[in-house]
């Protein structure tokens, strides 16, 4: 059974703390993504990575950074958490679209972060 696993389902952090959200996939996918999900706003792309050590900014990268040291692992980092980063964070992976794939995403269960 293929899986995308996010390390924490629920986190509570304080303003100014550094936060790490970890994501691991076992499908040997090239692409990995971090989305933020907020009511009424849908899913917004924060960052994505198409290869190890490669990353591209999505639509809302401000206040976030990412790390991809290994193909299966993609980390989202909040350098100094703020209350407006309270949200649900979804990790996803996919095969390269240029390989003839259709871009289907496989999602983790999500990490709900609350910043106090």
């Amino acid at each position: 059974d293929v899986k995308v696993t996010q390390s924490s389902r629920y986190l509570v952090k304080r303003t100014g703390e550094k936060v790490f959200l970890e994501c691991v996939q076992d499908m040997d996918h090239e692409n990995m993504f971090w989305y933020r999900q907020d009511p009424g706003l849908g899913l917004r792309l924060i960052y994505f990575s198409y290869d190890v050590k490669m990353k591209e900014k999505g639509d809302i990268p401000e206040g976030y950074s990412v790390s991809r040291e290994k193909k299966e692992r993609f980390s989202l980092i909040l350098e100094s958490a703020s209350t407006n980063q309270t949200s649900m964070y979804l990790c996803a992976s996919s095969l390269w679209a240029s390989g003839g794939n259709t871009g289907e995403l496989f999602f983790g269960e999500g990490s709900r972060l609350t910043v106090l």
Partner: protein, 114 residues
Amino acid sequence: AQTVTQSQPEMSVQEAETVTLSCTYDTSENNYYLFWYKQPPSRQMILVIRQEAYKQQNATENRFSVNFQKAAKSFSLKISDSQLGDTAMYFCASIKYNTDKLIFGTGTRLQVFP
């Protein structure tokens, strides 16, 4: 730029009935894919159905079917014989062919009542 619009924040349907969720999109591309994803409460998002824009035939997956109107840039999802397990957030999404980034709509929360 691609955009995806879902104008129904919430919908409800009785078990065994049929419901249609609306989606419109805007793109200047000729080749693209459209998707419907389902996010059950507290569970991970999964793909429900996929449509290639170059195919005129509407995609069907069991009780789920789409009405793809390319000229109108409309892509609605029809759920037949609704089941309690269909209760979920449904997201419409699009992607340009040979690219890797999906664009999502804002979602429709569907509640199926017994």
